[in-house]
Every structure is written in C-alpha cells, then in structure tokens.
C-alpha cells in the first residue's frame, strides 16, 4: 500500500548535490510532491525535506540509494506520525474584499491567517499549517478572488531524539 513519507536528506554543501538527490527519484519515475532545501543546525550541512507517496519497501531502497551518494551524509524516511511538519502559504487577495465586517474578513480570522502587507490594491495573507489547512483557506477565499497563491514545500522536524551532530561526530570518527 502506498503511504505518504517524508524523506530528510542531509548533505554536504556542494554545487550539484540537489541534482544527485533528484536523480534517484526520477530514475524510478517517482514524483516528488514537495521539496524544501535549507541549512541545518550543523555548519556546512544542508538538509532537504522531500515528500513522496510510495510503498514503504520502495522508499527504503530509495533512501539507501540516496545514502550511497558520496556527498550525502545521511538520509532517513518517516511517516507523518513520526514528524512535526508545517508548510507555509501566501495568498494575495484584493484589499477591497477584506472590508471590515465582511465575510472574507471572518474567514481570515477563523483561519488565524496573518496579514503580512496591505496595499491599496491587494493584501497578502500568510497561513502556516498542514496542507489541508492552507488548502481550506484557499477554497474559502477563492470565491472572493485570489490574485496569487503560493505554498512552500513541507519542512519537518523528526521526533526521534538522535541529533544530527552526534551522527556526524560518529561518521567523522570512522
């Protein structure tokens, strides 16, 4: 059975490594649903958070093939229940529909969306949450006209207590 997995990949900070990461997915024709790249808590180590929906045994093979890459330090995969994760969405809507007391304003309040910027023509809202939450807000605002919408890839923190630092220390002492 296919399930949603979040793969965290820790790499050296080198040019081209993202390409090496994605090749492992594309060669098996696995669609990457979202990907986020950033630094990690360890200097010089980058992390990629990748979401895919696949069978677990395939995910396991992909993760091993990721780790096989010379400049990938570590790769792990987790189910949603084993991570804390978030996505951020930005919505650009016409300012006039948000007039106080209106329906749209109630929606924004009910979803605890934040107002980032108000311009005469448009307002930018921000909502952080799981995809269904940011999508719900999208759906409800849609009738009022959404001028632009963007959602980030998932970022995730893993629940297990093993730190990246300790993993790296172990690898460095090998």
């Amino acid at each position: 059975m296919k399930k949603r997995f979040t793969i965290s990949v820790f790499t050296e900070d080198v040019v081209g490594i993202l390409n090496r990461v994605t090749i492992i997915f594309t060669r098996r024709k696995i669609n990457i649903e979202s990907i986020a790249a950033s630094e990690s808590e360890v200097d010089g180590v980058h992390r990629y958070t990748i979401v895919i929906t696949e069978q677990e045994d395939l995910v396991k093979k992909v993760v091993l093939q990721l780790e096989k890459q010379v400049e990938i330090i570590k790769a792990v995969y987790q189910l949603d229940k084993d991570i804390i994760y978030q996505e951020i969405a930005l919505y650009k809507v016409p300012t006039n529909v948000l007039a106080s007391g209106g329906e749209a304003e109630k929606i924004v309040r009910a979803h605890f969306a934040r107002v980032l910027s108000v311009e005469p023509e448009f307002t930018v809202l921000e909502k952080t949450g799981h995809k269904n939450e940011t999508q719900d807000l999208f759906n409800e605002l849609e009738p009022y006209g959404i001028l632009e919408f963007v959602r980030s890839g998932r970022v995730a923190i893993t629940k297990p207590m093993r730190t990246l630092k300790s993993i790296i220390t172990e690898l460095e002492n090998n």
């Binding site: 790499t11 081209g16 390409n19 090749i23 060669r27 093979k61 010379v70 400049e71 790296i168």
Partner: protein, 572 residues
C-alpha cells in the same frame, strides 16, 4: 620539523595543467588513454614534458579511450585513467562511464571544459558534462581554479578505488589549466559523508554461519565483489572448508579456477543448466559480492523462494534491492569471508554436489558436446574457444564484446587466474571489446590477451585497430563472424517468428581492412584450418587478427527465456 621543511620545499608554482599531470604521477599512474582537443590542450602540452613517466595512448575515439581504461583497470585492479576534451570529447565518454558505473570499475576521467567565464553561455564545445555524467558517475566535480586541482584529483582517485569502485569525472576549465598556482599534493584519506565499506558485524557473521552449518543443500553465488576485494583466496578457503558448490556471475568469472571441483558454472540467462535449476532447490543461498541482476535471477517471483538467503555485500543499497535476504553481512568480501570461514564447520555435500554433476552431464550431452566438438559442417563459436583453451595454459586474459560470442566465451573459456575475464556485464555495451582488449594488454603485457568479438560489435569500435597499429599493442583479436547480429537474431528466431528485422549484416572484407592497419590476419572458413590458425595466433609476437566464419544461425543454449524462472531453463 622535518616534515615542515619537506613540505616547504615541496611547494612549487605549477600551471593547472602541470598540476594535473603531477597529481597523476603522484597517484602512481603511468599509462593513460585519451584524445586531445581545444579545451584540454594545456594538459596535453604538460604531458609532452613527462612522456618518460606517464605514457599517453592516443585512441581513435574517446569511447575507445574509456573502454581501454576500463580494460586496463579490470586486468590490473588499478584505477584506469582517460582524458578527453570538452563537448563532443566528453559526451563520447558517457557510454564507457555508464558501463564502468554499473560494473563497478574504478576510473578517473578528466575532461577539459570551456573557460570559466564562458560557462553556461553555449560557448564553442561547451557541454554540461557534470550534469550529463551525474547519473552515471560515483562522483564528479568541476574545477575552475588551478589551486583546486591537486585535491580534486586526489579525491577522485580515493573515491574511484575505495569501497565499491566506480567512475569519477573531473571537469577542468581551460583557464584553470593555464593558471599558475602553488602545487602541493596530499593523498586524500576520507570524508565524513562517505563510508567506503560498512563495519563488519560479528553478530551477522555468526547468524550466517549458523544457517550455513545446518544447511543440507547450500549453494554459493559469487560475483565481482570477490575480485574487487581481492578475496579469491578467502573465497576458496570458504567453499573448500564447507564443501559448498559455487556458481558465478559473468563478472565473477575467473575468481575461481574453472576446473575447481566446487565450481559448478555460470548463472543466469545463458548460464549452465545445473546452477540455474538447483537455485530453486537449495535450502541456503549464499550470495557473495553479487547483486542479483535480472539476467542472473530471471523471474524474481519464482527465484529461490524455498531458500534462506545470505548476502555478503559491501553496498547497503544492494541488500533486499532485488532478492529479500534473511541475513545481510555488510562489509568488504575479503573480511567477511575470513570471519565467516572461522565459524563454519568443515563439511562435504557429496550427494548435493552429485546433483550438479548429473545435470552437468545432461547439459554436456544436449548442448556442450555439440558446441565444442560439432558434428555438422559449419563451425561453432564454442569450438573456437575450445581450440584456444587446448592450445594455451589457462592463463589467458579473455575480453569479450556483447552477444552470442560473449555468452559462449563466458561459458567455455577456461581460467586459472583471477581478473582474466573482462566483459561488459551490466550495461552490455557492444563495441567494448576491441578497445578494452587494448587497455587490458597494456595493463598486463606479459599475459596473452585475447579479444572475442562478433562481426556486429567489431564494427562499433573498429577504428581502434589504428591504436593497435600506432601503439604496437600485441593483442589477439578473434572475430566470430556469423554475418548477423547474432544474439538479436536468436531472439527473433525464438520469440518473433523468425522475422529478421535489421539483423542481417552485409559485411566488408575484414581481412582487407585489418591488413590496411598492418596487422597480421587470417580467415578461417573450414574446421581443418582452425587449429593451426589458433596456434599461429597464440604464437605470434605481434597483434593478430583471426576471423572465423561460424554457423550463421547457431543459437546459444541453455536459455532462460524472459519472464521464466531460472529452473525453467531450456536446453534447446
């Protein structure tokens, strides 16, 4: 203090190109294969000064250069090195890089690149070779400054040869080759993100030994891991102590001598009858340094389902990739085997071994006899190999191309020494043999190196006859000419109603072509001429080309048809 002084005197100014050449010399390289062009000219210029230390072999095509480097690497166990220019030079390497990647051959490929300020501008002969080669290299890196060169080359060698070996590519912009910089070479010793071989776990070795010690019908499959980790002796000690019959993949071929009583032959699609059949009867399957390629396993749903599987493997990504393992022993095969042999009980499996012998006899009568000593008039590929075996001492290095002749050579060539079969297994690259044989011969000049090629594959890299001619490489080339793309024709005959779509080869006169390169040649069309021609070839001090006209529509059997289980192997 002493090292400090030494280091200080070692620091000199070199151009990037000189640094490349010096770094290669530091790594112990004395032979490289390549082809010049604009973006790599500074390195060629630097080579000109050191030709007494570092020989460069000019091939006739970059594909020839890389296959030669592969042949060199596989015959010697050292890292093969090749050099090419940017753009088309670099793209011509790709087939060989993919071949080396899948067959775990240590290579360092150095390509020239346009000047760094032109990168990304579609400059003349600019190709994103880093991007193109990424899926087929173990590692690659683009150098844009001369100061990076010593470290990049040191790292390239370290990665290429350590752990599971593979090809690496270093792309060097032309300005970095010209630029002068301080040169100081230090061997590369490791990086945190890369563990060449996993730590052997004694608990796993124990679990494996426990399974082996109670097995009634154990069976060993071995691959190139035995050769790459130089574990031939440990491997033999293991099977001899346990009395377990052993079958090989074509990459593992020659790791164990052909006539060893426990050598039960070739696995897979055109392998031997017994090891394929009995894969589905063994109770414990012990895979050593092999990766369960689909050409070996046939239909996985019907592969060794009855057996407990032990996998000795260096690459964690291979565990459970194709076949589910019960016990995975991760580590270098040499260490794993050494540890395992200590824990296994001495044993003999005479009845079980006898099962192999019985099936072997069946195969002999149905297939082998007629292949080696045919009754019909037309010559067979097998009898050519058989004649070579009979006329030599088992110490030949065979190199093959891809097709029927490859399967026949793997099935029938006899070996006494390891690293003696060089064949393109994983990628199945036609055109591999001629250049790979050149590289192999240059790697082990004291050995008899014999390339076995089909008439199709010969014409894919035939231009390398020019390399044999110019560099005077005394390699022996045997073309088994059936005037067909034989292996494809066989499939058309068996599975496509004999519809011979584009497999008929109208060939030129190879004799005339080869003579044009100043190479001794002979054409054999009759059985009566074969023995003396083989003799003449083996005795010849120089390069020799032997063409044998073989039966046009002969087939290679046994055969595991696609989708069938290994135990459904057909004798005809």
């Amino acid at each position: 203090m002493e090292t400090l002084e030494k280091n200080q005197t070692d620091i000199k100014q070199l151009t990037g190109a000189q640094a490349v050449v010096q770094s290669l010399i530091e790594e112990g390289v004395d032979l490289i294969f390549g082809y010049p062009g604009g973006a790599i000219m500074p390195v060629y210029d630097a080579l000109y000064d050191v030709d007494d230390q570092l020989e460069h072999v000019l091939t006739r095509h970059e594909q020839g250069a890389i296959h030669a480097a592969q042949g060199y690497a596989r015959s010697t166990g050292k890292v093969g090195v090749c050099l090419a220019t940017s753009g088309p030079g670099a793209t011509n390497l790709i087939t060989g890089i993919a071949d080396a990647q899948i067959d775990a051959t240590p290579l360092v490929c150095i390509t020239g690149q346009v000047a760094s300020h032109l990168l990304g501008t579609d400059a003349f002969q600019e190709t994103d070779v880093i991007g193109i080669s990424m899926p087929v290299t173990k590692w690659n890196y683009q150098v844009t400054k001369a100061s990076e060169i010593p470290k990049a080359i040191a790292k390239a060698f370290y990665i290429a040869k350590s752990g599971k070996p593979g090809p690496v590519l270093v792309d060097i912009t032309k300005d970095a080759q010209f630029e002068a910089s301080k040169y100081q070479y230090q061997p590369f010793t490791g990086m945190r993100s890369y563990l060449p071989a996993p730590q052997l776990m004694s608990s796993k070795v124990k679990e494996a030994a426990d399974l082996i010690n109670v097995a009634k019908r154990p069976f060993v499959l071995f691959g190139q891991g035995v050769i790459l980790s130089q574990a031939e002796a440990e491997f033999k000690a293991f099977i001899e102590k346990t009395g377990i019959p052993a079958g090989w993949t074509i990459l593992g071929l020659s790791a164990l001598e052909s006539d060893h009583p426990l050598n039960v032959g070739m696995l897979g699609m055109h392998g031997n009858y017994a090891p394929n059949k009995l894969t589905n009867e063994c109770d414990v399957l012990i895979a050593i340094g092999m990766r369960f390629d689909d050409r070996v396993t046939g239909n996985l749903d019907k592969y060794a389902k009855q057996a407990k599987v032990i996998h000795l493997e260096i690459d964690p990504a291979e565990i459970d990739k194709n076949v589910k393992t019960d016990v995975a022993v991760l580590g270098n095969a040499k260490e794993s085997l050494e540890a395992l042999t200590k824990l296994v009980h001495p044993n003999q499996h005479s009845d079980w071994l006898q099962r192999f012998r019985t099936l072997e006899q069946e195969e002999y009568e149905a297939v082998i006899q007629n292949e080696l000593e045919p009754k019909e008039e037309t010559l067979t590929m097998g009898e050519v190999i058989h004649q070579i075996n009979k006329a030599s001492d088992g110490k030949n290095v065979f190199v093959t191309d891809v097709g029927q002749h490859q399967m026949i050579a793997c099935r029938y060539a006899r070996f006494l020494q390891s690293k003696s079969m060089i064949t393109s297994g994983g990628l199945g690259t036609m055109g591999f043999c001629l250049p790979a044989a050149i590289g192999a011969k240059m790697g082990v000049p004291d050995k008899q190196v014999i390339g076995i090629i089909g008439d199709g594959g010969f014409q894919m890299t035939l231009q390398e006859l020019g390399t044999i001619f110019q560099s005077k490489v005394p390699v022996k080339i045997v073309v088994l000419n059936n005037e067909f793309l034989g292996m494809v024709r066989q499939w058309q005959e068996l599975f496509f109603d004999k519809r011979y779509a584009s497999t008929i080869m109208v060939n030129p006169d190879f004799q005339t072509i080869v003579k044009g390169y100043g190479i001794q040649t002979k054409l054999v069309q009759e059985r009566s001429e074969l023995q003396s021609a083989v003799q003449e070839m083996l005795e010849c001090e120089d390069a020799y080309f032997l063409e044998v006209r073989v039966g046009k529509e002969n087939n290679v059997f046994p055969m595991v048809p696609t989708g069938a289980s290994v135990s459904e192997i057909r004798l005809k």
